[in-house]
């Protein structure tokens, strides 16, 4: 025993000498970047449960509060499994310009290099090397895949069958979310190659969910008693807590999308805060002037609209433009949710389209106007890869148009299939009784 210890003692300096040489050869996981991305992942999950669950549940009638919370909660669970099985591999492996390959199906192979930096699209000439392990990247992206379909639930609140909801969410995640995430964020994706800028998901998350929500609202029709019954929110206080949690979690969403703890993450955080505040003030002012009172629901809706609009722009813009993006989103989404919706006559119950669709479009287009070159400068592009101007605006418009078209068509197809298999809507009796009792056999106090 003594000799073994002695040998170990003499071997120690030798080990210390050789280890740094080994470390210099292979790229290493950066502990600072990884720590931030682990935290960001938790922050983004916080946006869906409990953030979005509370935000939406506070805006429905008392008889539907639990069912609305259940939607966010179960989407979280369903998409986690879907992402593990096939969603991640479709979105983030090399594949072709439109669809990933199946090399990570069931997360096969993720354990092979579990403690090494993760390379996106390895072996291609567009490969991107990160400083975090693949597990962290996969988990961070999973939380985005979770919140996107959960956002759609706002459009059909109070009337969708739970079985139909589960089927819809699985299919939508696989056939709409993952492909669009691939187009925009995979290095091989066609919109990424085109040069469309979407830092944290203006197209992938918000336009995508907003337009899908609009399709759901159009196909499923209005709530019973829409326009005649009192559909005032059960508890705007819950919605305030939910919106505030969304705001906090959004720092993980936007600043985390730098996939590193660096200067771009810092800029993303700063512009997120500024645009959110500006949008809340913008919505409040518009409402105060046109309706006479600055409502609490209006202020928090404006804040969410600002968070949505700055999402694609964060990481590409600096504070001045963030202020403009925020004000534009606050006023624009107010207009969409209070005027456009009533003009066109669809019942988007909680304004998934009015806030996420319209806010996403405003943000994605203004990113093309305001992108600040130096934030994306490297040695091959000293002036920056993304520079605001007509050309960039054109790329943004293509990305917006492609996302709207694809999600509208495929969402309609999925609704058709699910409608035939399950039926989309609860019965009239169940809807009047409330989804809490009718679907879940429970009641809120």
């Amino acid at each position: 025993m003594k000799t073994l210890l002695q040998r170990a003692f003499w071997a120690l300096p030798l080990l210390l000498c050789t280890f740094p040489a080994f470390a210099d050869d292979a790229p290493k996981v950066d502990s600072g970047d990884t720590a931030w991305m682990l935290s960001s992942t938790a922050l983004v999950l916080l946006m869906t449960v409990p953030g979005l669950a509370l935000f939406y549940a506070g805006m429905v009638r008392k008889k539907n509060v639990l069912a609305t919370m259940m939607q966010s909660f179960i989407v979280t669970c369903l998409v986690t499994v879907v992402w593990m099985v096939a969603g991640y591999t479709i979105a983030f492996t090399g594949g072709n310009a439109y669809f990933g390959d199946f090399s990570r199906i069931m997360l096969t192979g993720i354990a092979d290099k579990w403690d090494q930096p993760f390379i996106l699209a390895p072996g291609t000439d567009v490969a991107v090397t990160n400083t975090i392990p693949e597990t962290v990247f996969m988990m961070f992206q999973m939380t985005f895949a979770i919140i996107t379909p959960a956002l759609i639930t706002g459009a059909f609140a109070d009337r969708m069958k739970f079985s139909a909801l589960c089927a819809f969410m699985v299919l939508w995640s696989l056939f709409v979310y993952s492909p669009i995430a691939h187009w925009v964020w995979a290095p091989t994706g066609w919109l990424n190659a085109l040069g469309a800028a979407d830092f944290a998901g203006g197209t992938v998350v918000h336009i995508n969910a907003g337009v899908a929500g609009l399709m759901c609202a159009l196909v499923m029709g209005k709530r019973l008693g829409y326009g005649t019954d009192n559909m005032a929110p059960y508890n705007v206080g819950l919605a305030v807590i939910g919106a505030s949690l969304l705001w906090v979690g959004w720092f993980g969403f936007n600043a985390g999308s730098a996939t590193a703890a660096n200067g771009r993450a810092g800029m993303a955080m700063a512009v997120t805060q500024i645009a959110t505040a500006a949008a809340a003030l913008g919505w409040m002012a518009a409402e105060w002037i046109s309706k006479g009172k600055p409502s609490v629901l209006g202020a928090i809706s404006g804040a969410v609209a600002g968070l949505v609009a700055i999402t694609p722009a964060s990481g590409f813009v600096i504070p001045g433009p963030a202020l403009i993006i925020g004000i534009a989103a606050g006023v624009g989404c107010f207009w969409a949710s209070t005027w456009l919706k009533h003009l066109l006559g669809y019942d988007d119950s909680l304004d998934a389209f009015g806030v996420h669709g319209i806010g996403g479009i405003i943000g994605a287009l203004l990113t093309g106007v305001f992108a600040y070159g130096p934030l994306t400068a490297d040695k091959d592009h000293p002036d920056g890869i993304y520079i605001g101007g007509l050309e960039q605006l054109g790329h943004q418009a293509v990305a917006v148009g492609a996302t709207i078209t694809y999600t509208a068509v495929v969402t309609l197809l999925i609704l058709l299939v699910v409608g035939v298999l399950f039926g989309l809507r609860v019965t009239e009796e169940e809807e009047r009784e409330g989804l809490d009792i009718a679907l879940h056999g429970e009641r809120l106090g």
Binding site: M59, M231, P233, T338
Partner: protein
């Protein structure tokens, strides 16, 4: 004995209680109620959707007093609950046939 039933604005409840205590009122019953009168309803607006709320929250006070105290108590409630604005409420005075204190079995004036 008379039952005095007053419908008042909720925020005036404490003022009314404080006005009645010096008059020797030993107890009263309070309920949260909703209703409408000349004030009609109020309009709520949520993201541009306007809802007319027909029934406004009010507080109902019920107090039983000997017949000779009625005027005094009614005056005190009016004084305490009045804001001179529409929606201040109403007072109803009804006859009471019989009162029993459950604990002791005392009846009528003794039970108040």
């Amino acid at each position: 004995m008379k039952l005095i039933m007053a419908i008042i604005k909720p925020f005036k409840l404490d003022d009314v209680r404080e006005a009645l205590t010096p008059l020797g009122v030993q107890g009263l019953t309070v309920s949260e109620v909703k209703g409408f009168g000349r004030q009609k309803g109020q309009t709520e607006i949520y993201r541009g959707a306007e809802y007319h709320v027909n029934f406004i929250p009010k507080v109902k006070i019920e107090v039983v007093v000997p017949a000779d105290r009625v005027e005094q108590v009614v005056e005190a409630i009016i004084k305490a609950a009045r804001t001179d604005k529409i929606g201040d409420g109403k007072i109803f005075v009804l006859d009471v046939a019989r009162v029993v204190r459950i604990r002791t079995g005392e009846t009528n004036i003794d039970a108040l």
